[in-house]
Symmetry: C2
Subunit: 335 residues, 2 copies
């Protein structure tokens, strides 16, 4: 990109380069007034050649569209938000829309500041996202004069939400274990006040049937260690497979099994949830895990906000998008 | 926040509520024309009461400032960018500025689309950030008509950059190990084509003096394992401390030492670099590590862009901000 490409060219530059008056140049570019076809084409060609771009702010004032959307997130760590934001951006950038990223830190004051700034800028819509599905926005979003889409967050029932299908993800994991011959599948997961935890646990129970057992704890490796110590020190049959509620728990589980001399995957197969690569690729052996397809969630939210901003109808309600299973070595193949 | 607070109020609403004409309301709010003090105060009070906000787009056209800045990043994972973006946002939001986050994925076409959209919107400035200090922007940013600030990236020499002081971070780690009585300190780090790797290694060598040894590899846990296997299978004196180039290497080092029955921190103290909590808090024992103060880097970049947008002078060149050492259990106290 050269200097020439970037310096802002004005309608004056276009008029001068085309050898016409400013009003003729303006009419030619906007299709207003009376200009003959030859002049109109020449002005447009010159405008393109010199890199003229119409003033987006002025255009926004006329069209009442700012070609920008706001994304409100409580996720300062970015693990969930940035892949989704990349998906949102992917569908918007080619339409000339940009994304304001607003980190609210779950602070109502900060959220309100961001929201007011977004409304002042007349954004075409707002995407709200959170670090857990059941976390409500820190401010009321249900009565805004602009479209709102929820992603990785469940809005009010008459709103548009895109969330991962947690039950589907859990079924993928359990069916894979069953199909590879495992029969005593344990579920070690996070806190049961998370709706995602309950959905995964319910799907696990439905899929496993008799003998299903769920151990609830927190989201840490430490909990994975602790759970394995407890399970392998009690009497009775031991699991030959463990489906974990996230990758951190799975990592703790794998490390604890190794400490006990229990082979993964030969003695016990392990599957995680999240496909957080910094963990999943680094466990020994690398972790088979459920991927929530965050970028696709973002793409869908982006498409919905584009449609709404264009005045099209979009079905309200929650859309659950399928997960995928990323198979690595921790679950073995056939026994 | 109630419905009433959010619905956009216009100058018509203000005029009606205050019982004045639209031009009087406009003059009172903008301090233009002739309105008496009592009317002016009453109109302002009414505007505030009903939640009137001036049209930001119209104001931007007049002031030539959009009160928005663009942040270009190649980091889709967010580990480095989001903490910095939070710092940028923290200093901007109270000034009514918002941040466009633009993920370029290191793709020049995408970067150009984002940049053109930002210029169209007449952003007040651009912050460029990357996942490594020596990664140049995927498009030319040095000749833009608006201020550009680099953070966690080194711009051209006449530009403004904020980067962590890698040498300082390395000295903090080595001095801490020396002060707790360690004398055979090894450095296991990433690829030597990273400028940050070379700066940390040089500072390590200066601080350790005779006996310094640097092992270069990649940024993975696997490399940490491999390096420990190599070092502890060769003849000669063994290290009593290891300073690692990042937390992932440190995690591999700690796991490999445990596998060999070598105690951390009693036999070997370990220090990492990054303070990436998902790793640093989960190693056994938890990892002492260098924190690059990413949020502070973002704050400084935000303050610089604010000053530049306001037409103030800001010193050009690279500012290296000090790191801090987060002490956990992996480095022990006194021997």
């Amino acid at each position: 990109m050269t200097d020439k490409d970037i310096r802002r060219r004005t309608i004056h530059d276009v008029a001068k380069a085309a050898g016409v008056s400013i009003s003729t140049a303006s009419n030619a570019l906007n299709g207003t007034g009376r200009t003959n076809a030859e002049t109109r084409e020449r002005v447009k060609r010159v405008a393109k050649d010199i890199g003229f771009r119409p003033n987006a702010l002025a255009r926004s004032l006329l069209t009442k569209r700012s070609h920008a959307i706001g994304m409100l997130t409580n996720d300062t760590y970015g693990r969930l938000t940035l892949p989704m934001a990349a998906g949102v951006s992917e569908v918007l950038v080619d339409q000339g829309l940009s994304v304001f990223l607003c980190a609210t830190n779950n602070d109502p004051r900060l959220a309100r500041l961001h929201l007011e700034a977004l409304l002042d800028r007349q954004v075409d819509g707002i995407i709200f996202t959170a670090t857990r599905l059941d976390l409500p926005p820190p401010i009321e979003l249900s009565k805004l004069p602009i479209p709102v889409v929820y992603v990785f967050a469940e809005g009010p029932s008459d709103h548009i939400s895109f969330v991962p299908d947690d039950a589907h993800g859990a079924r993928l994991a359990v069916e894979h274990l069953k199909n590879s011959g495992r029969s005593r599948i344990l579920h070690i997961t996070g806190p049961d006040d998370y709706v995602a935890v309950r959905r995964r646990a319910n799907a696990y129970r439905d899929s496993v049937g008799e003998g299903a057992e769920v151990l609830y704890g927190d989201w840490s490796e430490e909990w994975g260690h602790f759970a394995i110590d407890a399970v392998f020190s009690r009497t009775g049959e031991k699991p030959d497979a463990i489906f974990c509620g996230n990758d951190e728990i799975a990592r703790g589980v794998i490390d604890a099994l190794r400490d006990k001399g229990i082979g993964v995957p030969n003695d016990v197969a392990v599957i995680g949830f999240d496909n957080w690569e910094v963990i999943a690729k680094q466990t020994r052996p690398p972790l088979t895990t459920v991927d929530m397809e965050l970028k696709e969630l973002g793409r869908r939210a982006g498409l919905a906000i584009l449609a709404l901003a264009a005045g099209e109808d979009v079905d309200t309600g929650t859309t659950r998008l399928p997960c995928s299973l990323v198979v690595r070595k921790s679950c073995g193949g056939e026994l």
